[in-house]
Symmetry: C2
């Protein structure tokens, strides 16, 4: 049998689920599971062009003993280009002071963000906190103020949860009147997900004994910005925690070492890093960080000040701008979906700019307030296409179009943009951010 080329694909039998080549997820997976037929994607033929190596050739790396072990491992040298942006030089230190650095979503897969690539936002640099000298004070409207060392906290029963953190300003440029040039990283990369392990805040508040008058907490970081936010007591008693570990190891300095606050599903900067003080109060403290910033400007001079949970959103990471598609054939459309209000129950994907949608496969485990990876096979015909993903959560909330969001809020807000993103695919395989 003659070898197939990438322009000679045998994908005719794939059952389609929506316009412009979206493949039915169940039919595809069942077929693959059978191991009886021949899938016929032709993808293997991409490997055997004459310029490419004989698969049985014994390569240099098989001929000589490899490298030894190191106590703490690092990524491959061939993955140097995968870093948090906007840093250009891989090992350079970017500016200190206020700023942010974004996860390279288009190069990642799965639901976990590795600690080295977790996004960062800091308001006056990353403090070099000596863990033995750090204290967490709980005071204000409590029966008995409490001071905790890291060692004391480490003796409490812990809890673990996989949770996303998203900056309230993530995707903010989608309020702009013209579609910003950008990638999944630069437009949506103030978003990461990790397994956090630490002490339930309810447990520590129980130690302090909450005064019935208390309804809020002031959470303060020990960084040079003294980043400070007000947290509703109800949230603190519900699912807030003080993580000491991130993806198994102690927090990184950039993510709050030695301890931070986690308020799952709420605006990123409420998850106060380098946490050293919680003061129980009757009302919100109205700090600089929740008045001059992180409030949602609406139309006609109105402000939604305490909108905390991040509404459901989905972003296609593959394919996406910066990645190039090489000819017609089978691809996977894959991305991340999340909701600050609960679990993702469905992600609808479109390849025709929203005219038709097919439901994606959600990778298990699907967890409340965690990133959920969605996937759908796509048979690209080589023509123009506009890719969209739309998240639905277990409250019944459906992610809005950008038109709907801007109609409701206007163009001036900077925060909580969860509009559907459009990636336009050109016939040369390049991708670009567009408004539908």
């Amino acid at each position: 049998m003659a070898k197939k080329t990438s322009s000679d694909l045998d994908l005719g039998e794939l059952e389609l689920a929506a316009g412009n080549g979206l493949v039915d997820r169940r039919g595809f997976l069942n077929r693959a599971g059978s191991a009886a037929g021949i899938l016929g994607t032709g993808l293997a033929s991409l490997a055997v062009s004459p310029a490419q190596a004989d698969p049985l050739k014994v390569q240099d790396w098989t001929k000589t003993p490899g490298l030894g072990f190191t106590a703490y491992g690092q990524p491959s040298q061939y993955e140097n280009g995968v870093g948090r942006g906007p840093i250009v030089e891989p090992n350079a230190m970017y500016k200190t002071g206020p700023g942010s650095i974004r996860s390279p979503l288009q190069f990642l897969d799965g639901m976990i963000t590795p600690n080295g690539l977790h996004f960062e936002r800091s308001h006056n640099g990353i403090p070099d906190i000596k863990p033995d000298e750090h204290r967490l004070l709980i005071h204000g409207l409590v029966k008995r103020p409490q001071v905790f060392t890291l060692e004391a906290l480490s003796r409490y029963p812990m809890t673990s949860r996989i949770s996303f953190v998203e900056c309230a300003g993530n995707s903010g440029s989608l309020y702009g009147k013209t579609a910003a040039d950008g990638t999944a990283q630069t437009l949506h990369g103030l978003l990461s997900c990790a397994e956090w392990t630490g002490v339930s805040l309810a447990l520590l508040l129980d130690e302090a004994g909450v005064d019935p008058k208390a309804k809020w907490l002031l959470a303060e970081g020990a960084d040079a910005a003294s980043m400070t936010r007000s947290i509703p007591l109800a949230k603190a008693l519900d699912d807030a925690m003080i993580p000491l570990y991130q993806n198994g190891e102690r927090l990184r300095p950039s993510n709050g070492y030695p301890m931070r606050l986690l308020v799952p599903g709420y605006q990123g900067n409420m998850n106060v890093k380098w946490l050293h003080r919680l003061k129980l109060t009757e009302g919100p403290t109205m700090t600089r960080d929740e008045t001059s910033r992180y409030s949602l400007l609406l139309k006609e001079g109105k402000v939604a000040q305490f909108k905390f949970p991040l509404d459901a959103k989905a972003v296609i990471t593959k394919p996406s701008p910066g990645l190039t598609m090489k000819g017609a054939g089978l691809y996977e459309i894959s991305g991340l979906a999340w909701s600050g209000n609960g679990k993702i129950v469905r992600v609808d994907v479109s390849a025709d700019g929203g005219k038709s949608f097919a439901p994606a496969v959600l990778s298990e485990p699907v967890l409340s307030k965690a990133l959920t990876r969605f996937r759908l096979p796509w048979k690209w015909d080589g023509g123009p296409a506009v890719l969209q993903a739309r998240a639905v959560d277990d409250t019944g909330y459906v992610q809005p179009t950008r038109d709907a969001l801007v109609a409701a809020r206007g163009n001036s807000p900077a925060y909580h943009n969860n509009a559907i993103t459009n990636w336009a695919v050109a016939v040369d395989g390049g991708l670009k951010h567009v408004y539908a």
Copy 2:
């Protein structure tokens, strides 16, 4: 009210669930959730001894802007001691050639192992594979041999799963006649867990079209040992995959970059790293790596050659040798449990050397063939104690005592030791591995 000291604990009301101070998990958590009472662990008092800092003191790190951003982050300098062993110097490269390096389980928490601390076993060093020149060949008893580049594999629909990998030789020293001195890391650290993302092997076998005569696969690595194992076809079609990503980012070189095999729940070295060849065969190939090694020597000269799944096991990581307990009071007993045959359904913990047990809390999500974190509060009275954990999986299998395992297998096997471990707590707070 006078401040409490650590020797003046108010834990009298905690409901006990088993001997020697094991606390009822439900009673403790309900109490904490109420935020009505005062938990009274006295742990906060550990922070306020005169030698320790004023919690309201403005520390140096709050007075000056902190450090800037880096493209790829690293752990805190204060966590330099947390590395894979037996390496002494944190940044030194350990010997090349065959060897292994173990995860520091006693310093980790949660279920995920960060990529930099994933255990490693290699048979002739870590190959420096150029990803663009690497090929995966599928041949032998197939209708159409297939050759895949990394780029071709990257276009297939992917799947993600959180799965442990454990070396068959992990915990092997527990077959010895006397209890080895060691830590959770040195005795049980050939064990890690990650979110793996890649292509279902069933999908690729479907592309190749499996000949009905094929019942096994030979999987070969491209390392300088050409590490080679035989895999049953049934396993390959069930849940095997070719991961390209580990915890979100591309595999690390030490864990198989650019691609490996994952056979969830099976002996570690069947998860062949640097995978470059799968040959479908009628029977097992009887390679060096499955005959001279990785077979289970039993009594009377018998050998269990193809015992692949790793049976259920639990290990207490906190407290454990190398960590020191500081005085009577509340502690958390925490550890990892897993089964190569399914999900963990229960972990029983004992503080009196197995005379009585209480069920631990299992941290969600509890996943098949993944590490499961278990936890139980413990009110240590300062006296001698022997800690044990015993895993039960959803097949009904109960982890055996060491006596039972040795009675069945003798002292000579090197592999598949899943006996219950005993950590003896001394009155000075030190811990030591003992046989019960």
